[in-house]
């Protein structure tokens, strides 16, 4: 049961500081939403937490349980339980989806000192996960995200989440470009993992996703800072009034 703890986090791209000091605590078992206008630093926060190159952390800390996230390689963070659902899932031509999922799962298991799954054990697991997500089985045979529709790519992210079973999911605008059916599948995928050991950071521009993944807390991110936090009703308020008023109040 690990807590995500972010204190005074500052990060830059090149010379430009994007995050000006983020303070955020997500206890185990809770789902927090981060909402904010475009350009507020939402995606930067998700990339800094997951360890993408090109972002320089200039201050603050981010820990998950005892682990110092910022000191770890992306693959170590994944093994520690972190999962970033990409806003734009990447296509991997020449890499089969089944192979990709099995290599990922076994890499994580190996790092954790758990036994790896053979092809038969893996297929059984993958088929069960696909069935529960109403995904056609041929998705396993295709190359990763190649020729997938926007909705299929997001479902594939959810499939990965179902198989890798993270304890901390960061959803980076997973709802963008999704129709309502796909949105429900994504939400079901996240809700299926909810429990005392699972926490999530749901980054979104719109309130819509939060109808399906009901958050425990909502934070508003603007200009690289969290300017307001509240319960689920804060999302409804934003939906009704827009960001302008809250941003103006905070300024």
């Amino acid at each position: 049961m690990s807590t995500l703890r972010i204190e005074g986090l500052k990060a830059s791209i090149g010379d430009k500081e994007i995050l000006h000091g983020i303070d955020l605590v997500v206890p185990a078992g809770e789902v927090h939403a981060i909402m904010g206008p475009n350009g507020s630093g939402k995606s930067t926060l998700s990339y800094v937490l997951s360890g993408r190159d090109g972002y320089e952390v200039t201050g603050g800390i981010a820990t998950y349980g005892d682990a110092d996230l910022l000191a770890m390689d992306p693959e170590q963070r994944a093994a520690a339980g972190l999962f970033l659902a990409f806003q734009y899932p990447v296509e991997l031509p020449g890499v089969g989806n089944a192979n990709f999922l099995r290599v990922a799962l076994n890499s994580i298991r190996r790092t954790r000192g758990e036994p790896e799954l053979d092809a038969v054990q893996f297929l059984k697991l993958a088929r069960a996960a696909m069935k529960s997500l109403s995904m056609p089985e041929d998705m396993l045979k295709r190359q990763v995200n190649v020729g997938f529709s926007g909705g299929e790519k997001k479902r594939n992210e959810v499939l990965q989440m179902a198989i890798l079973k993270p304890t901390l999911a960061i959803l980076d605008e997973t709802d963008s470009g999704l129709d309502i059916d796909a949105l429900k599948i994504v939400a079901d995928g996240v809700n299926a993992l909810r429990g005392p050991d699972f926490s999530a950071l749901v980054i979104t521009h719109y309130q819509r996703l939060l109808d399906y993944i009901v958050p425990d807390r909502v934070h508003v991110l603007a200009h690289g800072r969290i300017i307001r936090s509240g319960g689920p009703e804060l999302a409804l308020e934003l939906e009704a009034n827009g960001y302008a008023q809250i941003v103006a109040e905070a300024a």
């Binding site: 360890g51 992306p74 970033l84 990447v90 991997l92």
Partner: protein, 420 residues
């Protein structure tokens, strides 16, 4: 012509070896004498020769190459270098050690005979072929009669140094498929220490014969591999080759293929996987001498460290070779800022109704793809290997022979595992 290497230590060591050995070498001495004149005049080819513009043999020049003394030497250590999927294949195998056939290690098919028993030598102006003609002792002669399906055959060449001194082997392989005959040849070169492996292949395909030729060059890290392949394909014949270069300090595979009969097909595909200071050269000369021929070449280079890859691809379409369909593509993936690819396509077309295309691409590892894999828990080295495998996927997956795919995948996986 090439004073640079003509008087080199290496050239001298080859010539003195010939002088001392010539009365014992099998076959027509006059042909060997003629070849020695060609080689003595030319020496080891260097950059002054247009055909060797990007690959100089100067690194060999100071070496003194010795005769391998390994007629009966045990080969267990060297066989252990052969990818296990190859040795697990249920098919006949021909094992050569330092250029000599090892009957004790082989299970030869009926269509095999030893080159040493009836050497066939012919004049060739190219210095490395002349060197081979001068000193060759043995090789595989494969004569498949009309209509025979020879199945799959494994040809392995094992090489080694001599107590730390470099050795040289010059096998001469002759492959003749009569009308409608078929063969899938999987050829593997491995070894240990410093040596030169300088094989020459003479390949003749009669009408409607099909030879699938998968070549794995996985020589020792300090070895030299210089192969010359001469191929002719008669009417409706198909030479389908794939060369995979992974080993050797310096290597070259030069294929000279002629579409001699109507509607013959020639595929000269290749992949090179190089690191450190490896230098590897794929040179092809493809002559369309008859109409309705088709040629395909996709050459992919994966270059890490200070490695240098070379691709020279020449396509000649003769005046009468109408309706020729030629395709050539060279792609490089550079994993390091110090790696280099040199690509020289040449098209010489004298027919007016042909379709010939060529292209080249150079790229780096995609940072988004790399991060995506790592974000899913895949360690950096494994992620890099998966993306390299993906880059080569079209090449390797296109191989119809399951064993060949397994062998190359094994090389790819272990090589990256070892580098990690």
């Amino acid at each position: 012509m090439s004073a640079l290497t003509g008087g080199s230590t290496a050239a001298t060591s080859f010539l003195s070896r010939f002088a001392g050995l010539k009365t014992q070498l099998p076959g027509n001495l006059a042909e060997r004498e003629a070849a020695s004149v060609v080689f003595a005049h030319a020496g080891l080819p260097g950059r002054k020769l247009e055909a060797w513009k990007y690959t100089s043999l100067a690194p060999l020049a100071d070496a003194s190459f010795h005769e391998p003394l390994t007629l009966l030497a045990p080969c267990d250590d060297l066989l252990a270098l052969v990818p296990p999927p190859a040795l697990a294949m249920d098919c006949p195998r021909l094992i050569f050690r330092d250029g000599r056939f090892r009957a004790d290690l082989s299970t030869a098919p009926g269509f095999f005979s030893s080159f040493a028993d009836a050497p066939e030598l012919a004049a060739d102006p190219r210095p490395m072929v002349a060197l081979n003609t001068m000193l060759t002792e043995d090789g595989a002669v494969l004569d498949l009669p009309e209509g025979m399906d020879g199945g799959t055959l494994l040809l392995v060449h094992l090489a080694s140094d001599l107590h730390g001194q470099p050795t040289a082997a010059h096998p001469r392989h002759i492959i003749r498929l009569a009308k409608g005959a078929r063969l899938e040849l999987i050829e593997i070169s491995v070894g240990s220490g410093s040596y030169l492996h300088n094989p020459v292949f003479q390949i003749a395909l009669a009408p409607f014969a099909t030879l699938t030729h998968v070549r794995l060059q996985s020589e020792a890290a300090v070895a030299y591999h210089l192969a010359t392949l001469n191929v002719s394909a008669d009417t409706g014949a198909f030479y389908d080759s794939f060369t995979f270069t992974a080993g050797a300090r310096l290597s070259r595979a030069e294929t000279s293929a002629t579409i001699a009969g109507e509607a013959a097909r020639v595929h000269l595909d290749a992949a090179q996987l190089l690191a450190d200071h490896q230098h590897a050269d794929i040179t092809t000369i493809l002559r369309h001498a008859a109409p309705h021929g088709a040629s395909r070449q996709t050459v992919r280079n994966v270059l890490d460290g200070h490695a240098r890859g070379v691709f020279q691809g020449r396509i000649e379409v003769a005046r009468g070779a109408q309706k020729t369909d030629g395709y050539q593509m060279n792609q490089a993936l550079l994993l390091s800022p110090d790696a280099e690819i040199d690509s020289k396509p040449e098209l010489e077309i004298f027919a007016d109704d042909v379709k010939c295309s060529h292209g080249a691409t150079v790229g780096e590892l995609d940072a988004d793809q790399f991060f995506y894999l790592r974000a899913r828990g895949v360690p950096a080295d494994l992620a890099r290997m998966m993306l390299v495998r993906a880059f080569l996927a079209d090449s390797i997956d296109a191989l119809a022979n399951d064993d060949a795919r397994a062998i190359l995948d094994h090389v790819l996986t272990t090589r990256w595992g070892a580098a990690a």
